[in-house]
Subunit: 381 residues, 2 copies
């Protein structure tokens, strides 16, 4: 659909995923400014949108740097000319031929790993195939998931296990634990923990004689909360591009910053229960209930009118596969006449990453209901 | 990929979604036999697989009958010659032109609604466009979501509001509340409640002079638990084709019946925590945590070896976007040497419908690791 086609949010079918481009750009600018203030490079994580039209607005240069969470993302963004990428999930041996294809195509794709076995597997692959593969060692700064502890001597063992074409270029960590806190003080502390952890790991390696060109940290909450990332060369962040209710619950954005929403249509009511039923169920919203354990449980999302104006007394209190159930939080009954059949509403989601994956495209608006563009997105691995 | 290509579960990339065709066929046969025993038509719900290769094995004839949850499904299955379909989500006015296109193409697509306003909207559309649209009134047999109460006089009002080409052909209900129970006695009771509710609604309409050709009930648990569906003309069910851990928790299948699993690769360990890390995170498993409120919380899934043999002491205790965390349920530590880097495992999911939506295709095996076929699936609306 060209931009000339006069389509608006009353005309397209539902459920459909909507981007508010003005809010998205504000979010992009905010993170870019933060990186500049901290004096380091931003390597945006492109996993959230899986969409070139979004990604290209986040990148500092058309070639990157960028972060990806799947080889599919690397392949798709490489088609658009992105070359400087880190695939930020520990490499599985079976994926090395796909990595090699990207390297052969001129993509400077860097891998991560956190153990001697993986280092040997990559080194063996390089020896057998004459490959040169750049590697970052993954560090665990807060017990969140993968990575070696900053003071674990195994870090140096892993570095030593990288031989032949497997070349150590840096260290990387992800402060996923920052998702569990929600005060500026705690977030600042997490950002310092992330910094101190990665610098401790880097020092171990440098003391052992290894040169590191990349010292990479990243999570949206710590990136936006950091006061001093001295010694860090770059930060990664992804979900900031759209933000979501979970990030609002963490405290790093307001509900008004959320640039992504699901357009739905009212299809029924249960008057005695005070429910309004829409065609936006969990298949369209995703099954993410990440706010359930935050201070404020947002159900399956918050409700806005078609223009994006929040109706603060409402929430999506439940969802079936293709049905969303809207109700008042205070238990009062929603009236049929206020939500007539066919009425359009927009739902702010718990989590931008999984809701995106449910949809083949984004409809782009700016401050209103007119659709400026339709952007394709991909999925799968 | 042709069937001649000798590929197996050690060779394809991960995460990938696997169908065990033998188990799937056993599940299909079981539901078909149950419908025959009850003496009624099976109208399988095709929302679970969104895949023609699966759907065609469920259908009684190549033309149907079938149930769909989106117009996209109706359009995709119509391409393959399916004509007799019910779109089993209350119709949104904006969707009527797409419905009309299907009717124009010769598809006998039936719609559902549960209120006078929607009945008038469809009737107005029929009058303005010279359309003929078959309608079923949705009945709420257990307070689960949409539909009118069986004894609500509004049922007759809705029927009377159907004018012009909008033609009442039946009543429909979905015993979604059956998902909340887990004993044969309670399931039998739910199936009787579903039957009694829909028959009460049908009697109201027939007493008022309306003819009903379809009296439709449906949910996998009640369909498999019913002892007497006299008066019902057809039953719908969907998730039975694959089953999942949630249905096993309800008690209508065993874990061994689950025909769908996620193939993953071990990419790391956290030895002190006893974790094994795989490349199967919630993006590949979906965010569904439906078993969390059942008697046994299955985390993000149960773990099998590459051949599909259950490792009963394990579960997926956590997941990030592209990381799955495996652990022992008893708190014991998994050993690195037992789960080497590159090892392949298969994860049984909580819920077959959302995990399917994350994947562009299914890899089909039968009792082993050889891939017999690759089946495309679609997504979106």
């Amino acid at each position: 659909m060209g931009k000339d086609t006069a389509m608006d949010l009353y005309q397209i079918d539902t459920p459909s995923l909507i981007i508010d481009e003005k809010k998205m750009q504000r979010n992009i600018d905010r993170m870019a400014d933060k990186a500049k203030t901290l004096g380091l490079t931003l390597r945006p994580h492109l996993k959230t949108s899986k969409c070139w039209e979004v990604a290209k607005r986040q990148l500092w240069t058309p070639q990157g740097p960028a972060t990806v969470s799947t080889l599919k993302e690397a392949e798709e963004f490489a088609k658009h000319g992105v070359t400087d990428m880190i695939y930020a999930v520990g490499i599985a041996p079976q994926k090395l031929p796909r990595v090699q294809q990207l390297l052969d195509a001129g993509v400077d794709l860097k891998l991560i790993l956190d153990n001697v076995d993986s280092a040997k597997i990559v080194s063996d692959y390089c020896r057998e195939h004459g490959s040169e593969i750049k590697i970052l060692i993954e560090i665990d700064c807060d017990g969140h998931r993968s990575g070696l502890q900053p003071n674990d001597p195994a870090i140096v063992e892993v570095a030593r296990a990288l031989t032949d074409g497997a070349k150590l270029v840096g260290v990387l960590t992800h402060a996923g634990g920052s998702y569990d806190v929600n005060t500026p003080e705690a977030l600042l502390e997490r950002s310092r923990g992330e910094r101190d952890g990665i610098l401790k790991a880097a020092k171990q390696l440098r003391d052992a004689g290894f040169e590191l060109e990349i010292v990479s940290v990243g999570s949206t909450p710590t990136a936006l909360s950091a006061d001093d990332f001295s010694g860090i060369t770059e930060m990664r962040a992804g979900v900031y591009v759209f933000f979501d209710l979970f990030q609002a619950g963490v405290g790093v954005c307001s509900v008004d910053d959320i640039a992504i929403s699901l357009l739905v249509t009212v299809i029924g009511h249960q008057e005695q229960k005070g429910w309004v039923i829409t065609d936006g169920g969990w298949m369209a919203l995703s099954r993410d209930r990440g706010t359930a354990n935050q201070t404020t449980d947002q159900g399956y999302g918050l409700v806005c009118d078609v223009n994006g104006k929040l109706m603060p007394e409402l929430w999506v209190c439940g969802a079936n596969q293709e049905h969303g159930i809207l109700a008042r939080r205070d238990g009062g009954l929603l009236k049929r006449e206020d939500f007539p059949i066919g009425m359009r509403l927009r739902i702010l989601p718990n989590h931008a990453c999984p809701i995106g994956a449910q949809h083949p495209q984004y409809y782009v608006v700016e401050d209103g209901v007119e659709i400026k563009a339709v952007w394709d997105r991909f999925y799968g691995w």
